[in-house]
């Protein structure tokens, strides 16, 4: 049973205080998207053995959703971070790299001036 530290209140909460929310950083596809895009958004999940980014809600606590970077095989937690970020933060990437030098991010950083809304609309 996992323990994850909520980045909003600093509490190390155990799994029974948390609600899982599946893969993090999904890009929403709404009306106007193709069937393939929508299918991928709604159903296709990475489910890797290894580094994974997940959504968790501090349900029996502050009620906030946060993200966790975790190894699904060893359950090592590389870090938790704000849900209000379109991609894992550089700190999280560095923490993962420190333990998994071979691991590569599979996203490209958006330009710094791109508003969050357009990334997730």
């Amino acid at each position: 049973m996992l323990t994850l530290t909520c980045p909003y209140c600093g509490i190390a909460a155990e799994e029974t205080e948390l609600q899982p929310g599946g893969e993090a950083h999904l890009k929403r596809f709404g009306p106007g998207s193709t069937d393939e895009e929508f299918e991928a958004y709604l159903f296709a999940r990475k489910n890797p053995k290894g580094v994974h980014f997940e959504r968790w809600r501090h349900a029996y606590g502050c009620g906030k959703w946060f993200m966790a970077a975790r190894d699904t095989a060893t359950l090592q937690v590389f870090g938790t971070y704000s849900a209000q970020t379109p991609h894992p933060t550089p700190e999280i990437v560095a923490a993962i790299r420190a333990h998994r030098p071979d691991w590569q991010p599979d996203w490209t950083e958006a330009p710094a001036d791109t508003p969050a809304e357009s990334l997730n609309a």
Partner: protein, 172 residues
């Protein structure tokens, strides 16, 4: 029969106001209207009969004598009128229990997965008590536990059960 580990009693005369706002912007206005200093992350501040608890990065709970609730709510709404904020009377949706006695921590350790022994003196911890959500902070001689009104009987049941005489957690 030995004594219960702690005295469990229900508090009926507290009022509560839920406040949601950007605490960095509106913190001072809230503290001013509430008459209690703004608590830090995971803390609760107390001034006389009022306490202000940190519930989340954008949520506070003002605990005060029930009779003062309406006036305090109006003061808060007034102070926050220019902010994007929410202040609500939630006095009726809570159940409040006091757990008083030398072994009060034992009672809570049977119900809550949180490390309450490590909670700071002025800490406020939201967690669960057995199967329901709760918030816990210290008061002289013990702890305060707040939960939801609909499960008052359940809370009383689990607290009383956990405080049963002879069930202290120290090794025998």
């Amino acid at each position: 029969m030995a004594e219960a580990l702690a005295k469990i009693s229900q508090v009926q005369d507290w009022g509560m106001i839920q406040i949601r706002a950007d605490l960095t912007r509106a913190g001072d206005a809230i503290a001013g209207a509430a008459g209690v200093a703004l608590p830090g992350q995971g803390r609760i501040t107390t001034d006389g009969s009022r306490s202000l608890g940190w519930m989340s990065p954008d949520e506070l709970l003002l605990v005060l004598p029930r009779a003062e609730t309406a006036e305090a709510l109006a003061a808060l709404q007034d102070a926050l009128s220019t902010e994007h904020a929410l202040a609500l009377d939630v006095s009726d949706m809570r159940a409040v229990f006091r757990i008083q006695g030398a072994k009060a921590l034992d009672v809570l350790m049977k119900l809550c997965p949180a490390d309450l022994a490590a909670m700071p003196e002025d800490g406020l911890r939201r967690t669960r008590a057995a199967q329901v959500a709760c918030g816990i902070w210290r008061e002289p001689g013990g702890y305060v536990l707040i939960g939801f009104r609909s499960v008052t009987d359940y809370l009383r049941g689990i607290l009383t059960g956990a405080a049963a005489p002879g069930t202290q957690l120290s090794p025998r």
